[in-house]
């Protein structure tokens, strides 16, 4: 564990960051503006590009005809009759959907000409709400589809019906989770060039895309090219994403096409208005949770019905929000039987996708609200309900009914620590006094399993077993790295992990330096992703907290091999067996005689300058690539089970709120949080992740919502209405603590830690508000929670 300062900070803080807008990688680049639909749902009668094309300074204008002529629909994750192109073709299906692209000398001219694109729309009735989309008579988004339900699967694991039939109590609740985003500071950016090469068209695209690189073949598929004809280059600096930027990929295809027509490279930089209406967000979800419960509040079985609202298209990797947490759908609890129905509906809203916590905040909002509802209905303290149901520390590795294998943990100890740090018993006493005084004070808990290092094979579950092609399953969570040593013994680490501010370089440097016994200064990480030169695969990318568990494991593998070569070289210099050597303090020394040593750099120098002196059969190789491919990440089984992540951490949050009786403002009085992310690699960075995840959670719980009017107009299309919490809102007192139960499956025992509280804190806040307002008979079943919402809820229960 270390608190090593971030190597990234100096450049970022002095304005030396290199974001795509700072770079001019392809000289002669023109600038694009996107013409977008003002209608939520409309048939496109005609698109006339002539006036825009003849505007001075315009190089090319493309619309649906050009898109259909060259592009194929993006390959979807599931067979569904919802073809998805980077622009509308027959109909527009959400406000902000691209319809045409204008390429011009600069953005001003491009926007002037964009106003000259004449689109004749025939407005159609829109469907926005999930419950409405499920109805038979709802307006149909995709003419070829039978309904707006794009995917519908049911799963049963264990003796669910039997458990419900014999249960003393059944607790059943419906909840809804809102749609929100993470609004990274830097919006989407693409520079793309289409060129006709000897082997057919070649596309080079620079984009602030961070994976999953499974989207590379998706983009190539739309372009009709083999994946290797699409060269994707990601700048070293990305201004945040939290998953949101994975959805820049449709614009890569679109700008490549624009470049084909302009005959020049094309740059498109998304502005904030575009970002807020048409980029991406987490999906909103309607859900029903039902538990078979005994007198003590112990749950024996669950029924879970999830309906995700994915917006206008089943844009890959959707419907993954439904499946990312499949293996941990029973959360932190020992529940052996679960029935799941997983549906996604399309509506006239913007398409959804990855958002920090992906699928977790939605799942746990249901599960953890349910645990509180069980507690309330049985008259048991919410902490006790959790104690009675949580997986015990002697049960690891613990297999969940849906296929998850929890690698390690001690949930009870972590919960007790969170409760102690919060002063839970004392808080309950204070609450009794507050209630006697007529005040609204509440305490909310959430205890969640925090999955990391996704096994992208879960996407396969959306397709029924009989339709999954035999021996063409999907699985995996491979991570690559390349490490090399120069003639001076400086170690370079090539990181294709496409970070967006997490500090990968800092941790990589530290891990390599420790492992090779070098001072950190002797290790130089370089962040670079160029699919033509950087090792990568389908699962590459920065998502699902993969870096700490996977990339560091790959690093060690590469370092081990380098160390072997260095030891052989040193053995030549020291005339001892390589096996007798160890690396420490920048030296290669004899393990039981530290005086006999050579500098690491001399050993490295020998390999570079005098490979002839190496023993026979030893190749003079001082660069190593490693791919860490955990065998535990398998494709979905024939019984539809999947270990959907490699590692499973744990979070316990305890939140205290007070609600002002006049303004109904919810004030967070304190948060106590315990994270178990396995071995801690860097305390400062981990704590940073905790804080960031909490602020994101706070946004979703109390401030942010991508709301729409019933006609499908976004009602939070600027930062005047889409309210991100600021420093003023985020400064609640926090006691954050950590527990370390190392993962046996990763080299350092580290699990991911980038998402935890973004999954747990929204529901912990909801539980606290529900607890505060329990005396008023108010039920909390959705977010966000702010004065206006509470006013409605209180008045509804007062009957006026």
């Amino acid at each position: 564990m270390t608190g090593l300062a971030r190597v990234e900070d100096a450049a970022l803080l002095t304005g030396q960051g290199r974001f795509l807008d700072d770079l001019d990688p392809l000289p002669g680049t023109l600038v694009a503006a996107v013409v977008r639909s003002p209608h939520a749902h409309a048939r496109i009668r005609s698109v006339d590009l002539d006036r825009a094309r003849s505007h001075p300074g315009v190089a090319a204008v493309i619309g649906p005809d050009e898109v259909l002529a060259t592009l194929k629909p993006f390959p979807l994750s599931v067979k569904a009759a919802t073809p998805y192109y980077p622009t509308a073709t027959d109909k527009t299906r959400f406000v902000g959907e691209p319809v045409a692209v204008v390429v011009a000398s600069d953005r001003y001219v491009a926007e002037d000409a964009a106003e000259l694109v004449d689109v004749d729309y025939e407005p159609l009735p829109a469907v926005v709400r999930t419950d409405r989309a499920l109805q038979d008579d709802a307006p149909l988004l995709h003419d070829q589809a039978e309904s707006n339900v794009a995917t519908d699967r049911t799963f049963t694991f264990g003796a669910v019906d039997e458990a419900f039939a014999s249960a003393a109590h059944v607790v059943s609740r419906s909840y809804s989770f809102p749609r929100y985003s993470s609004t990274p500071m830097e919006c989407y950016a693409v520079v793309a060039e289409w060129r006709d090469g000897v082997d057919g068209p070649e596309v080079t695209a620079h984009a602030n895309f961070h994976g999953p690189f499974s989207m590379a073949p998706v983009v190539a598929g739309a372009l009709g090219l083999p994946t290797s004809s699409l060269r994707l280059i990601v700048p070293a600096d990305i201004g945040g994403s939290f998953g949101i930027k994975s959805a820049v990929y449709p614009y890569i295809a679109l700008m490549a096409l624009a470049s084909k027509h302009a005959g020049r490279p094309v740059r498109w930089t998304e502005d904030r208005l575009e970002h807020l209406v048409a980029s991406s967000s987490g999906s909103d979800r309607l859900m029903t949770f039902e538990a078979a419960v005994d007198d003590d509040g112990v749950v024996s079985a669950l029924r879970v019905d999830l309906v995700d609202n994915v917006g206008a298209y089943l844009r890959p990797p959707e419907p993954s929000t439904l499946y990312r947490c499949f293996g941990n759908i029973t959360g932190a609890y020992r529940i052996d039987a679960v029935a799941i129905r997983a549906r996604a509906v399309v509506t006239n809203k913007s398409p959804t996708g990855l958002n920090r916590g992906f699928g977790g905040q939605q799942l746990y909002f249901g599960l953890e609200r349910l645990m509180d509802d069980i507690a309330t209905s049985r008259g048991i303290d919410p902490a006790d309900v959790r104690r009675r149901n949580m997986v015990t520390s002697d049960a690891f590795p613990y297999a969940t009914p849906s296929g998850g294998i929890y690698d390690s943990g001690d949930y009870h100890r972590a919960l007790e620590l969170a409760l102690d740090n919060a002063g839970y018993e004392q808080l309950r006493k204070e609450q009794r006094i507050s209630r006697d005084n007529g005040e609204w004070m509440g305490i909310g808990l959430a205890t969640i399993v925090d999955p990391s290092a996704t096994n992208i094979g879960y996407v396969g579950l959306a397709t029924p077993v009989q339709d999954r092609t035999a021996r063409r399953g999907k699985s995996g969570s491979t991570e690559h790295v390349r490490v090399s040593v120069d003639p001076q013994g400086i170690v370079s680490v090539l990181l294709g992990s496409v970070p967006q501010g997490q500090g990968h370089a800092t941790v990589a440097r530290d891990v390599v330096a420790r492992h090779l016994g070098l001072p950190v200064e002797q290790v130089r990480p370089r962040v670079e992703m160029d699919t033509a030169t950087t090792p990568w695969t389908i699962s590459s990318g920065s998502y699902s907290s993969r870096f700490a568990p996977l990339l560091t494991s790959a690093l060690l593998e590469a370092c081990d091999r380098l160390a072997d070569t260095i030891k052989v070289a040193a053995s030549v210099l020291l005339q001892v067996e390589p096996a007798a050597l160890e690396l420490a303090d920048g030296m290669v020394r004899v393990s039981d005689d530290h005086e006999r040593a050579v500098a690491f750099r001399h050993a490295a120098g020998l390999v570079h300058w005098d490979p002839g002196s190496l023993p026979d059969g030893c190749s003079a190789r001082l660069y190593e690539e490693a791919a860490f491919s955990p065998p535990q990440s398998k494709a979905a089984s024939l019984t539809d089970q999947i270990n959907s992540s490699l590692c499973y951490g744990f979070v316990a949050d305890v939140v205290v709120v007070r609600i002002d009786k006049q303004t109904l403002q919810v004030r967070i009085e304190s948060v106590s949080s315990v994270h178990d992310a396995g071995t801690i690699l860097n305390e400062t960075l981990l704590e940073g992740q905790v804080h960031g995840a909490m602020v994101q959670a706070l946004g979703g719980a109390m401030f942010e919502e991508m709301s729409y009017s019933d006609s499908g107009q976004p009602t939070a299309g600027t930062f005047m209405d889409y309210l991100c919490p600021t420093a003023a809102e985020a400064c609640f007192p926090l006691t954050s603590a950590h527990q370390e139960t190392p993962s046996p499956l990763t080299r350092l025992g580290a699990k991911g830690c980038g998402e935890g509280s973004s999954m747990s804190l929204p529901v912990a806040i909801a539980n606290a508000v529900a607890d505060a307002l329990a005396p008023e008979g108010v039920q909390i079943t959705s977010l966000p929670l702010h004065g206006n919402v509470l006013h409605q809820l209180l008045n509804a229960t007062n009957g006026d």
Partner: protein, 301 residues
């Protein structure tokens, strides 16, 4: 998010400014904190921007004849920090609520009043104090009282060719006390509801006036003397703040029901805004009354 084409001029005198404004489609650019976003979103398309920031005489902040006079380019933050504004306590209470420090450093006092956002603080202060607006054009000058100035959401009596050259805020007199409060979901946001209050106690005479904002298409001023009197009758002549607030609570509900007439939005329904206004009224009228009585004691001694 790029503005449509426009011409830009930066005259050095008021005379040249109003000459430019006499042309069709010309618009004043002051601090730009409201206008520039409007341009960037192409919600407004002036043919010419008349930048007034190079006119020295518009940058004056002075006091005369019982008023402080604020010129057209005086920034909100300058007024907040200048000693002069101490003589208009309501300004001192209200200015910190405008956006964030960065916004106040650029945004002008006159610009906020000319822009007339229904949720803005300064139009409410101007209304509550009955400030005077000085308008200049090639046709001459006119003075308009706040009560006649605001005509609707983002609209005032300013004609397209007129420049708001100065705002005159009356300095506080003896026995005057003030209150100001607002509620927003986040620190620095435009208010969902707000209230500016002036209470005057001289001897037995009592006068209380509130201007609410964020609750209608323009600031709404109401005389609440009767309500304050009634509350005082109930809780006694020298109440504590919380006693007086409780005395005012129900009466504040009635005032709020009257003044709030927006249709509401996702951040606050009409009913919720009424609840907020009622709370603010009870608190700020009580605060203003208590400072007015201590102010009159001070001035009597």
């Amino acid at each position: 998010m790029k503005a449509a084409p426009f011409a830009y001029v930066r005259p050095g005198t008021v005379q040249d400014v109003v000459a430019e404004l006499a042309r069709d489609g010309a618009k004043v650019l002051a601090g730009g904190q409201s206008l520039v976003p409007v341009l960037a979103m192409r919600l407004g398309r002036p043919s010419t921007l008349v930048d007034i920031n190079a006119v020295p005489e518009l940058d004056r902040l002075s006091r005369d004849n019982g008023s402080i006079r604020v010129g057209a380019t005086v920034r909100q933050r300058r007024l907040q920090r200048d000693d002069l504004s101490a003589s208009v306590p309501l300004l001192r209470l209200a200015l910190p609520w405008i956006g964030h420090r960065e916004i106040r450093s650029r945004g002008t006092v006159c610009g906020s009043i000319a822009h007339a956002d229904p949720a803005a603080e300064l139009p409410a202060v101007a209304s509550c104090l009955d400030a005077t607006m000085l308008l200049t054009s090639t046709r001459g000058q006119r003075q308009i009282a706040a009560a006649e100035f605001f005509t609707g959401a983002l609209t005032t009596v300013i004609e397209p060719d007129e420049l708001l050259t100065e705002v005159l805020f009356p300095v506080a007199g003896p026995g005057e006390g003030f209150g100001f409060g607002e509620f927003a979901r986040r620190h620095g946001d435009f208010a969902l509801a707000g209230a500016a209050v002036r209470v005057r106690t001289t001897g037995d005479a009592l006068q209380a006036r509130v201007t609410c904002f964020g609750i209608s298409d323009q600031p709404v001023t109401a005389d609440v003397t009767a309500q304050l009197r009634a509350a005082l009758a109930e809780v006694g002549p020298s109440p504590t703040g919380s006693q007086l607030r409780r005395g005012l609570a129900e009466r504040a509900d009635e005032v709020a029901a009257d003044v709030v007439d927006t249709s509401g939005d996702g951040h606050a329904s009409t009913a919720y805004r009424r609840r907020l206004v009622a709370g603010l009224l009870a608190r700020e009228v009580s605060r203003a009354y208590l400072t007015s009585t201590s102010a009159s004691e001070v001035s009597a001694s």
